[in-house]
């Protein structure tokens, strides 16, 4: 019973964290599901957002400006992956690997050393309320509002003419030219948007935790994919609204499952193995059952 009590005590704080990780999962979902581009950039864009934000905070920038720079950096990373794929005709997966590998060095350069503490520096959260760092309900309320705003913005964007063009790229890219849609513009724009969201998540996590670490992106992509798969299992992906809800709900459930696993004695260093096996099972089971549709849809 002690184990479960420990888990239940952690539910609110885990939920607050999962709201922040939702930005990452949204940033993974958009390329994979909407643009049909299996983009791995987030593995580097997430720590990039954190490192850029931390570096600007240390340099004395306003927390909002530092967070804004993180978003811009993430967008650039996503655009770079798209450009490498389009210009050099390099496989999307490899383009993403190239970018996140390069970003590891870049992140280290930006941060100056492998980790930086931000304890005496004001974050965006201190601007909202000095109590936010210690008050979990306040965190939940604050993150929910920001996430809700971003979610509504994304939902609106996808219902515009530009959003429909981006969605077409994911459904039938060969048709794009004859509909007057530029594959370049939509792919670059879509990946920039997605990784901007991922980097925003990284910037928020760094400010919430009070430190930036060069290794904070390690395996983050698989965590995000696991969250996405869980969310899609729960709400489905039949409509754009459901597809957009899946990352948020998936992140909430996934991070509770992780917390439960840790409470039950799962060693933190085994977490990535457990997550990888979970993602494999979730994506692989439909294929084993003979239904290859889900498998094909992932386009990896």
């Amino acid at each position: 019973m002690d184990i479960l009590t420990a888990f239940f005590n952690l539910v609110p704080i885990t939920f607050a964290q999962s709201l922040v990780y939702s930005f990452l999962v949204l940033g993974i979902m958009i390329p994979f599901r909407i643009i049909g581009f299996p983009d791995l950039t987030s593995e580097g864009a997430f720590p990039l957002g954190g490192c850029v934000c931390a570096a600007f905070l240390v340099a004395g920038w306003h927390p909002l400006a530092a967070t804004g720079m993180a978003i811009v950096a993430g967008a650039l990373a996503g655009a770079t992956t798209a450009f490498i794929n389009l210009r050099f005709r390099i496989n999307p997966l490899l383009a993403g690997i190239l970018v996140f590998t390069a970003l590891y060095s870049i992140n280290l350069r930006i941060l100056g050393r492998s980790n930086v503490a931000l304890f005496n520096i004001d974050s965006v959260f201190d601007m909202i309320s000095p109590n936010l760092i210690t008050s979990v309900p306040l965190q939940i309320a604050c993150f929910a509002v920001v996430l809700g705003a971003v979610w509504v913005l994304l939902r609106w964007l996808l219902s515009t003419e530009i959003g429909a063009a981006i969605r077409l790229i994911g459904v039938n890219p060969d048709l794009a030219p004859s509909l007057g849609i530029s594959l370049w513009t939509c792919t670059i724009g879509g990946l920039a948007l997605a990784n901007a969201s991922t980097a925003f998540g990284g910037a928020l996590i760094v400010q919430l935790q009070g430190y930036a670490d060069i290794g904070m992106g390690l395996g983050i992509l698989i965590n995000g994919l696991a969250s996405l798969v869980i969310g899609e299992t729960i709400v489905g992906r039949k409509t754009v609204t459901r597809q957009l809800l899946a990352p948020v709900i998936g992140a909430a459930v996934y991070y509770q499952l992780v917390s439960l696993g840790l409470s039950l004695g799962l060693h933190p260093s085994d977490l990535k193995l457990a997550t990888a096996i979970f993602v494999l099972l979730a994506l692989g089971l439909p294929a084993l059952r003979g239904g290859a549709i889900q498998h094909e849809r992932l386009r990896v």
């Binding site: 964007l157 219902s159 515009t160 003419e161 530009i162 959003g163 429909a164 063009a165 969605r167 077409l168 994911g170 459904v171 039938n172 060969d174 048709l175 794009a176 030219p177 004859s178 509909l179 007057g180 849609i181 530029s182 594959l183």
Partner: protein
């Protein structure tokens, strides 16, 4: 023949040359110094055996293959170096494969909206709204396929003929100056092919859009269009219009050019 009222032609292709696999043993000239002109409101039907260069000509006009040599003009615009997606507002196509002309994973109304916005700058306006839906419903009604009640149906659920009819609507909804039909009824069963062909003829007549249609069906070639163009080895080898075209019979056409291609059908 290709000029009307002594004015400039709408489409003006000069000296088009495209070689596939250049420098290799099986290098093949798909277009060999081809000149082709088309006037406003003209409806040209292109025939010729496989490899004659018909599809390559349409691809060159649409921009999906690049020219080794030559120029393409449409009205006042030089299209030669224009990216395909930038030509889409001027030139639209219906492909042979019903799958490639529509977006299967999107709804009928979304497909029509995407097609309607081609050639215009896409913005942050709503992709769909009630007035657009009403317009799409009216357009779909003209097909008499019952699609007007299925605006929110995924295109993946439509039959090949329905998808092809939708492709046709999508090609015309943005009011192009030139319509390219690349054997757009060839993948359909004969009855559906006739329905789609009839819808095509009605639409072309109503909009007066200049059209190039590729067909392997001799009956369609004889009965439709205002002009008949036969291609061989990347050139135009026969080009008739007016009374001379109207007097053609399939037998005479086949006899005259000794077409021994199994895809040429007298009664399709």
């Amino acid at each position: 023949m290709t000029q009307t009222d002594g004015g400039k032609p709408l489409l003006d292709c000069r000296g088009l040359e495209i070689t596939f696999n250049p420098g290799v043993a099986d290098a093949r000239k798909a277009l060999d110094g081809l000149d082709f002109m088309l006037a406003e409101r003209e409806f040209a039907v292109a025939i010729g055996s496989n490899g004659a260069g018909k599809s390559t000509l349409l691809n060159a006009i649409a921009g999906s293959v690049s020219l080794d040599r030559g120029t393409i003009r449409l009205g006042d615009r030089d299209l030669t170096r224009l990216a395909p997606y930038r030509r889409a507002g001027l030139i639209t196509r219906v492909f042979q494969d019903p799958m490639s002309g529509t977006a299967a994973g999107m709804t009928i109304e979304e497909n029509l909206a995407l097609a309607e916005q081609r050639g215009r700058r896409r913005g942050f306006r709503a992709h769909l709204n009630p007035s657009r839906r009403d317009r799409y419903r009216d357009l779909l009604r003209t097909l008499s396929l019952g699609l007007e009640d299925r605006l929110t149906t995924q295109v993946a659920l439509l039959s090949g003929g329905q998808r092809q009819a939708l492709s046709l609507l999508m090609a015309l909804i943005s009011k192009p100056r030139l319509l390219l039909l690349d054997e757009h009824t060839a993948a359909l069963d004969p009855r559906t092919a006739d329905i789609v062909m009839q819808a095509t003829l009605d639409a072309v007549r109503q909009t007066d859009v200049a059209t190039i249609m590729i067909t392997h069906n001799m009956r369609h070639a004889i009965e439709t269009g205002t002009r008949l163009v036969m291609m061989d080895a990347g050139r135009v080898v026969y080009d008739v219009s007016g009374a001379e075209k109207n007097s053609l019979t399939p037998e005479a056409l086949v006899e005259r050019f000794k077409i021994d291609n199994d895809r040429m059908r007298l009664n399709g």
